[in-house]
Each structure stands twice: as C-alpha cells, then as structure tokens.
C-alpha cells in the first residue's frame, strides 16, 4: 500500500533538534515530584481505608527505600543544599540556553533571575516550614543524616515541592522568554564575564601621503566578527571592542558590485569616491571586488573532512546540536561526486565516518547524530587525523578541505599554537585547505581560529544560529567551499598632489609590507565563488580643512615632485593567483578625480550600505574618526540603501544599529 517512492516518506527524514538537557533534567525532576505526590495521596487514601494494614506499611518501606536507591542509581546532580539553589539555578540556566543561545555566563541572566527571585519570594515564605521540617526530620533520622548532603537536599525538595505546587508553577511561568526589550539593561553592559578571547589591534592609523604614499594589505573574506557582534547585541550587550573587526563586518554582506562574466577573469573591481558620511571634509575611496559565480555543475568535486569538537563545552543548544543541523544543510548541497568524512575530537580523537559519498545522506546524518558532547579537548590530534583522512580521499582537481567546527577552546596537541599553524601551512601547500566554523560563546578563542584559518588558505565563520548556518553552508556554499582566486593583495599608491592624508578603514590584522605585494611567496586572503570583498579608504584631499598634520617648521618635507598629474587620486593595483597557479596576475586601475561623486546620494546603494556598515563598526570600536556620526544617522544611511535585501540580512543590520543606539543611551 505504501510505495517506496512515496513523497510523504520525506517526513521521516526530518529529525528533531536535540532536546535541552536542562529541560530534560527539570522535566524528569518535576515528574518524580509528581510521582511522589501521587504516591503520598494514594497512601493517604489507603491509610484511610485500611488503617494498620500490613501491606501499606510494607509499601511505605519500599517507597522510602527506593527513594534512596533512586538518588544513587540515577546520579542526578544535586548541588544546592537549599531549595533556592535547586529550583532557581536550573531556571536561570535554562533561560539563558533557551532564549538567548548564549553561554551560561551571560550577564543577561541576572536581571531575569532577580525577577524570578521576586516571584519566588512569596512562595519561599510559604515553603519555609516545609523546608525546616525536612531538615529536622533528616537530622533526626540517623540513616539519612549519615549520607552526604545530596539526599538531604533531595528530601527537602520533595517535601517542599510536594506540599507547595507553586514551585512547579514558577517553573512553568519562566519557560516563556520575555521580550528582549523589557529586560534591556539600563546602562551599557560590556560582556566582560565571558571567556571569549580576542586579540587587541589598534585602529589603522592615518598616513601622510607625502611620507607613506603606498598602502598594501591582504583581502579578508571572513565574517566571524559580524556574527559575534550580532549575537552580543541581540543579547543586550555592547560587544568587546576587540571583537569588532571593521572589514569583517563590512564583508559579511554580499554587495551587488559589477560581476565578471567569464571564468577567465575571476573577479571584477569597482571603485567609487564619494563624500565621507561621517566627515564632510574627507572622501571615501571605496573598492568593491566581486568574484565570479560559476554554475553549480561546474563546481569541482569536494573532499571534505568535518573535524568536530565534541568536548564538554560543546554541550549547549547553540553548539553541537546547531552544528549537526548546520552540516545537514551542507549535505544538501553536495552530491555523489563529493566525499565526506567525519573526525571527532575530545579527550581522544577518533574517526567517526570513513570517507563516504555525500549522496549517502542517511549514513552520514546518522553518524553525525551519534556524536555527543563530553570530555576535554585535544584538538591537535584531531587535526592530524582529519588531514590524514583528507589525504586519503584526495584527488586531482578536487577541493580538499578540512572543516573544523568548534567553540574554539582548543587544547593543542601539536606542542604549541605555532607548531599547529606550521602544520596547517604545510598541509595547505599540499593542497588541503582549512575552514573554521566557530560556534557558541563562552570560551570562543577568536584569535586562534583566525590564525588557523588564515594560515590554512581558508576562511573563518561564526555560526550563531540556524539562519547563519544557512547563509554560510547553503546560500553561499560555493563561496565557502570553492576558491576562485588566492593570495589576493591590494596595493594603493596615493597621489600626494591630490591626497594629503589617507587611512585604511579596518584590515588592521591584514597589513602587508610594501615589498610583499610583488612577492608571490607571501600568503594572502582568498576569494570564494561569488564573494564580494570591500575595502574602504578615508582620504583627505589636498586643501581640505580636515588635514590633521601640520607642515613642519624647520625642515622641508621630502619635496613632492609636481609631475602635473592632478587628475588622479590614486593608483590601484590588485594581485591574485588562480587557484592552481603559483604565479600571480596583476590588475591596475587609476582612480580619477573627475570620477568622484559630490553627493553620496549619487552612488549606488550597494556602496552606501557598505559605508553605513563601516561607520557602525567604527563607532562600536570607539574609533576617533567616525564619532561625529550618530547611530540615527547610520541607521538612516543604511535604511536608505537597503536595496532588494532578499534574505533580510540588511534589515537585521538596521535593527542592530537600533539596539546599539538604545544601549549606548
């Protein structure tokens, strides 16, 4: 009757998200309390009917006996001694994990917990007699008192909760998250409690064109910073200044720059010069690069090794469970030409799945499903194993890649971080690249993740939600998995006759030496299929009131040779290598003064939106340059350049500006 080809069969493939462990413990606990209550009522009933009946006494003894066995058997962790500890703590944990998807140490939990404190205080006063009763009873009862504190606590809970259903009630009240707005903190809170680590970088400084006419940097297509900042803001926290990397925030968005039409030219560059939205006296030189998007069918075979962190710290709804579902998205994008292997690391590293054709979805999903978090992290070993598997399944012309998914707490097995980077670098030269997917907050080690991805010719993403996973692993999967140009470097030579000072917005970690530009041995960032990359300079034209460095009094500066070229602001040079080549190609474009727009409204919204993101990122970083622009102005600029915004990413950005605005007031 049911045919095998039944379309309804897809219903059984849908797997449910992992239920919350906290909820599970809580639900089981609640059920046990209900069970006790039910038993007590039954006993009361029986006692009424058969007073002195031997059976009842026997049952009671069983009841008491098994209560203790239960504690020993199930090993339910009972840390708190008082009922507040037992009831409130899980609530606070659950609130955090179920609503905000942040780490457990988010300060957001506090105001909420206080609310609950108030709700509970009434109940607590009622509970006191019961609690005292419980304690006295257990103190008198030698057998129980000899046991550790746990059974005492247990008996208190059951006594109190059974006699006061309000405790259970409260747990229900707390299950619904309150709208964020209502609990938004009144003052700016910066997440200082979390163990997330970021390296601190000073803001790119201002250069005097006459002294330093050339600026060189490597492109960066990472987007992790934006996602991290977003998750912090959505939780009502101003992000750590060092977590804000301007170029990653700007490059998070896809811009509709002019795209190349053939695969021979891997990318196209577009340049606009227009008035700076945060400074009337300067201009922005905005370089947009758009990568070529090949047809899906032209995608090279992928040989992917998923290296999954299953350490204890991954045990949060926004970590391992999200990771599992994220990979099932990725799987949907692959076919029988691709191979997938899975390696897990935690305590000891192990191969979870030998190289398997990506079309064997159920097999792959099943091995993913089997993973569970526990143990400590020894990532180095796992990496070695992952690269071994990648080597094993490697074939010519295919995209060989290790995808490391972790919350970043990386206990490096290969002696030191430097040795690990060296290892990854060596493997990169053997044709295996590394992508890093960061999950969760709490002990996210941003610096190491960045370093690993950059050394591995790879990219780093921070996945904080299923939507983000969808962006990285489904919509933009080609860009994530397929490199169309590698070692892309940008060098801009400014014309001292037209530009007095300039400053690169962001890219602090990506600066290169001038001589590195032509050195093909120096590694730089890669561009994935369809990626757009943005770099923005703020330039101060000669004669502008914004020139901040005065001329010297006692000596003449290096004289500027007036070659009469006042038609150009700068000369843009781009170097890149095709994925399989070692020799770089060069693109050169002059940036003409007369092409500059006088009004920001005259440029395409794609550029304007990028400028608004740059302004926002600088403001979050506490930049000295973009301070004049208010959050309202940024929002207005972004709103006016939202464009089609098919997936709603830009709308989301606007709401982030709004949150930051209210947090900073």
């Amino acid at each position: 009757m049911i045919k095998k080809t039944d379309k309804l069969d897809i219903l059984k493939n849908a797997d449910s998200p992992e239920p919350s462990k906290t909820r599970r413990a809580q639900n089981l606990e609640a059920a046990m309390l209900a069970f006790d209550k039910e038993q007590q009522e039954q006993l009361k009933q029986k006692n009424k009917n058969f007073q002195g009946n031997g059976l009842v006494r026997r049952l009671m003894s069983i009841f008491n006996f098994s209560k203790r066995t239960f504690i020993m058997d199930m090993r339910i962790p009972l840390g708190g001694v008082a009922i507040i500890g037992l009831v409130l703590l899980p609530l606070a944990l659950m609130y955090n994990s179920s609503t905000s998807l942040t780490g457990l140490n988010s300060p957001l939990g506090q105001p909420v917990q206080e609310n609950k404190d108030m709700q509970l205080s009434e109940n607590l006063t009622k509970e006191k007699p019961a609690k005292l009763e419980g304690r006295t009873r257990s103190e008198n009862d030698g057998a129980i008192a000899l046991d550790s504190a746990a059974p005492v606590a247990e008996s208190e809970v059951s006594e109190a909760a059974v006699s006061n259903p309000a405790v259970q009630m409260t747990s229900k009240i707390a299950q619904r998250p309150e709208p964020l707005g209502r609990i938004a903190p009144t003052s700016v809170m910066v997440n200082e409690q979390s163990g997330d680590r970021f390296s601190s970088e000073d803001e790119s400084s201002l250069f005097i064109t006459a002294q330093t006419p050339v600026s060189t940097f490597s492109i960066d297509v990472d987007t992790a910073s934006y996602t991290y900042v977003r998750s912090q803001l959505e939780n009502g926290l101003m992000p750590n200044l060092n977590a804000v990397r301007i170029e990653e925030m700007v490059n998070y968005f896809s811009y509709g720059y002019q795209a190349p039409t053939s695969a021979n030219v891997p990318f196209m560059q577009s340049v606009e010069v227009y008035p700076t939205p945060w400074n009337e006296a300067t201009k922005l030189l905005h370089i947009g690069i758009k990568g070529f998007t090949p047809e899906l069918s032209e995608r090279p075979k992928s040989n992917l090794v998923l290296l999954i962190d299953t350490s204890g710290s991954m045990n949060a709804p926004d970590k391992l469970p999200l990771l599992k579902r994220s990979f099932s998205l990725l799987l949907n994008q692959l076919d029988e030409n691709d191979t997938i292997s899975i390696v897990a690391y935690a305590g000891s590293a192990g191969v979870v799945l030998e190289p398997t054709k990506a079309s064997e979805k159920r097999k792959i999903l099943r091995s993913l499903e089997r993973l569970s978090a526990g143990g400590s992290t020894a990532g180095g070993q796992g990496i070695e194993l992952a690269y071994e598997l990648a080597d094993e399944a490697k074939s010519d012309g295919s995209n060989n890649r290790v995808i490391l998914a972790t919350d970043g707490d990386f206990n490096v097995g290969i002696s030191s971080p430097d040795a690990l980077k060296g290892f990854i670098e060596k493997k990169r030269d053997d044709g295996i690249s590394l992508s890093v997917l960061g999950f969760g907050t709490g002990n996210y080690n941003d610096e190491l993740m960045q370093a690993l991805a950059q050394n591995g010719n790879g990219n780093a993403f921070y996945i904080d939600s299923f939507l983000e996973a969808k962006k990285v692993l489904s919509e933009e999967v080609l860009g994530t998995l397929m490199t169309i140009a590698k070692d892309v470097k940008i060098q801009v030579e400014f014309n001292p006759l037209t530009v007095a000072e300039y400053r690169l917005v962001g890219y602090e970690t990506r600066a290169l030496k001038r001589e590195d530009f032509n050195n093909d041995k120096v590694d730089a960032g890669d561009i994935g299929a369809g990626h757009s990359v943005t770099a923005i300079y703020e330039i101060t034209p000669v004669g502008s009131s914004a020139i901040s460095v005065d001329a010297l009094r006692y000596q003449n500066e290096k004289p500027v040779v007036d070659n009469g070229n006042k038609q150009e602001y700068a000369f843009l040079k781009l170097r890149y290598k095709l994925p399989n080549e070692d020799k770089s190609k060069l693109i050169e474009v002059p940036i003409r003064v007369d092409a500059a727009k006088d009004n920001i409204a005259d440029i395409s919204p794609e550029f304007r939106f990028g400028a608004s993101v740059a302004a926002f990122a600088q403001k979050l970083r506490g930049s000295n340059y973009a301070d004049n622009m208010s959050y309202d102005d940024i929002e207005a600029l972004a709103r006016g350049s939202k464009g089609e915004d098919r997936f709603g990413y830009r709308a989301e950005f606007i709401s982030l500006v709004d949150i930051a605005n209210s947090l900073s007031k």
Binding site: L11, R23, L28, A31, A34, I62, F70, P177, L467
Partner: protein, 192 residues
C-alpha cells in the same frame, strides 16, 4: 486498587533495575506499586520518544519540551490506568497526542500573546528557522490537515509505524487508518 508490585526482594529489584532487564510492563507495575526507581527508568527510557513525537506534531522545540514536561507529569498520575492490553509505547502515543491537542487548543486561546512573542522567538529558536527551510512546505501542509488525517500521516510516515499499530493508537480499525492516509494524500496532491 494498587496492583501487587512484582518486587521480589529489595536486592533483586535493584539488580534488575540496574540491568534494565525489566520490560516496560514490569516497570509500570513496579512504579504503580510505588517503586520510584522503576518510574524514573521508565521516564528515562521514553523521554526521547515523547519529545520526538511532540516535536513532529508541533514543529517547535520549546513547545515540544513543554508537552514533554506535561506528559511526564501526567504519567505520574495516570500510569495506573495502563492495563497492558496495548503495547506501552502505543498507550504512550495516545497520551502524548492528547497533550499535544490540549496545547494546540490553548494556543488558539493564547494566540494574541503568541503572535507578540513570535518576533522575538523566531531569531532565537533554531527550530523555527529550520521549519522555514527544511521540508517546510510539506510539514506545514501536513500539520494543517484535519486532525485525524494529520495523526495518521505522522504516525505512518513520521514515526514509521505500521497501520496495525497506528490503528491501536488511534483506537480505530486498520482500514480506517488507510482511509485517513488516502484522504490526506488527496488533500496534499498539490505537494506530492
């Protein structure tokens, strides 16, 4: 009446419980007889099943977890009414489905509040997002079917039960189950 618990000696019970030798029916008997450990094992054993059923029907994690809690609490009360005629899991299905219905009914009443919360929860609950992407059309369509058809389709396809088991759970004849499924397929024609 309290059934006579199948407990032998304390030690034996403990041993048996630890080994998880006992079948569902025996555990139910012991639990109804007041054995706390038996009840705990029974819950542990079926927790995922309860949650998964609830999730398939509701398609929303926190709702599913609410239902799971409700079912766990309810089991403490109604366990004694399990008479062993059907499989325990089949009996459990029925309880879960009832709680799901209750929840859906109260949802309609609380609809206003629900909508107010929707904007916030959407970004925060991955389940919602997933629903929007994976198989969403099919799922949404199935969940909108008339109740009996929806139950039949989800039990047959979502839970991969055979028509006989489904008939037991739904307390109807096997042929009725087949009829529900056929009707459902007719309504879903556009999607199939």
């Amino acid at each position: 009446m309290i059934k006579n618990p199948t407990l032998k000696s304390k030690d034996e019970t403990e041993q048996a419980l630890n080994d998880k030798e006992l079948g569902d029916a025996e555990l139910v008997d012991a639990a109804v007889g007041g054995n706390r450990a038996a009840f705990a094992i029974l819950l542990e054993r079926h927790y995922m099943l309860i949650y998964k059923i609830a999730y398939q029907w509701l398609g929303h994690q926190s709702d599913a977890e609410d239902v799971t809690q409700e079912v766990c609490l309810k089991l403490a009360k109604v366990l004694k009414s399990f008479d062993g005629r059907a499989k325990f899991s089949s009996w459990l299905y029925r309880i879960v489905l009832n709680v799901v219905r209750d929840m859906q009914r109260s949802r309609v009443r609380q609809n206003k509040r629900h909508i107010a919360l929707k904007d916030i929860t959407q970004a925060n609950f991955p389940a919602n997002q997933e629903e929007a992407t994976t198989y969403s059309q099919m799922w949404q369509a199935v969940r909108k079917l008339p109740q009996k058809q929806c139950d039949a389709v989800l039990l047959v396809y979502g839970q991969e039960l055979n028509h006989f088991e489904v008939a037991q759970i739904m307390d109807v004849k096997e042929s009725t189950v087949s009829w529900y499924v056929m009707e459902a397929k007719k309504s879903l024609k556009g999607l199939l």
